[in-house]
């Protein structure tokens, strides 16, 4: 299905958020994920089923002021 991941279009076979992260080489406890502008908790990624056209944001700690 077609997904937007951090603003880039991807054609992905993954069906859950956890599978998507593994497929695109995102790993680590420091990552936060949102689908269609809503947080998806770390504990829920394995069960969270993706749909065609979903917008996924994968964020990590960064410098800030």
């Amino acid at each position: 299905m077609k997904l937007m991941v951090n603003g880039e279009a991807h054609e992905i076979a993954a069906t859950t958020l956890a599978e998507l992260l593994a497929a695109l080489d995102y790993e680590g406890e420091w990552l936060a994920t949102a689908v269609n502008s809503d947080l998806v908790h770390r504990a829920n990624r394995a069960e969270f089923r993706l749909s065609d056209g979903d917008r996924i944001e994968i964020l990590s700690p960064m410098q800030g002021g």
Partner: protein, 257 residues
């Protein structure tokens, strides 16, 4: 010791972590400043890049308290989602909420700010709102559940210092029991001293340290400046007057004519 919302902090200076020449200089600046709270952000991670992991390791090693922000958010929804993501990553319910209303001045959208603050306070966050010096907005933020206010003293990164002393003094006077932390616009240590002399409880700054020729030295200077201002405020300063008053006693003065 600075008692902030039930937390004891050794310093009244809060320091941002952006724009430093290197991670090592950032770490040294944080240590030199004596700060016990650093601000951090969330940004898109690159696949396989692990930049976030490296930065997070550096920050955790500093041993300071973390104040995540919602920098760059222009809507309530963005700010609320970012805050929720920050709580998961950083493991703290403290959140500096920014909802930007004007791209040129980075002035907060105070209407969106109040709405975001209400949502987040109801969800158990401790909201540090980046706001203006407007008293009406301050009242709304307190009504929304905020226990601390963070008024700007000048636009972010401008280094102008407190451009409206009267407004800051007025804010201090109107909210005697509310922790007030000046956030944004400080350019030099004397600016920090000035706002602390007004009775503010702390200052949060970033650019003035990070972009200094010697960030570590400037961080140390700001740490001292904040302490000096606070001690001056606590010690009771003289009110200015329009006429001279001799400091040397006039009694016993010699008469030669």
């Amino acid at each position: 010791m600075f008692e902030l919302l039930g937390t004891s902090l050794p310093s009244r200076l809060l320091l941002g972590t952006a724009q430093y020449p290197s991670p090592a200089i950032l770490a040294d600046a944080v240590k030199a400043s004596g700060t016990s709270v650093v601000t951090v952000s969330l940004r898109r991670e690159m696949a396989g890049g692990r930049a976030g992991e490296k930065f997070w390791s550096l920050i955790r090693a500093l041993g300071t308290r973390i104040l995540p922000n919602t920098a760059g958010c222009h809507s309530v929804k963005e700010a609320v989602t970012t805050a929720n993501m920050a709580r998961e990553v950083f493991g703290t319910s403290w959140i500096k909420v920014e909802v930007i209303g004007n791209q040129d001045t980075l002035q907060p959208d105070v209407f969106g700010l109040v709405e975001a603050a209400r949502i987040l306070c109801e969800d158990g966050f401790t909201v540090f709102p980046y706001t203006t010096d407007d008293l009406g907005v301050a009242e709304r933020l307190l009504d929304a559940g905020c226990k601390v206010l963070m008024p700007w003293c000048a636009p972010i990164g401008s280094a102008l210092g407190p451009v409206n002393i009267m407004a800051l003094r007025s804010m201090r006077g109107h909210f005697p029991g509310v922790p007030l932390i000046v956030d944004a616009g400080l350019g030099r240590p004397s600016h920090a001293t000035t706002v602390m002399e007004l009775g503010f409880d702390g200052v949060l700054l970033n650019t003035a340290v990070a972009r200094a020729a010697d960030p570590v030295g400037m961080a140390r200077a700001f740490g001292k400046a904040v302490e000096a201002g606070r001690e001056a405020y606590s010690s009771g300063m003289l009110e200015p007057r329009d006429v001279a008053a001799p400091s040397t006693p006039t009694i016993g003065r010699a008469v030669f004519s």
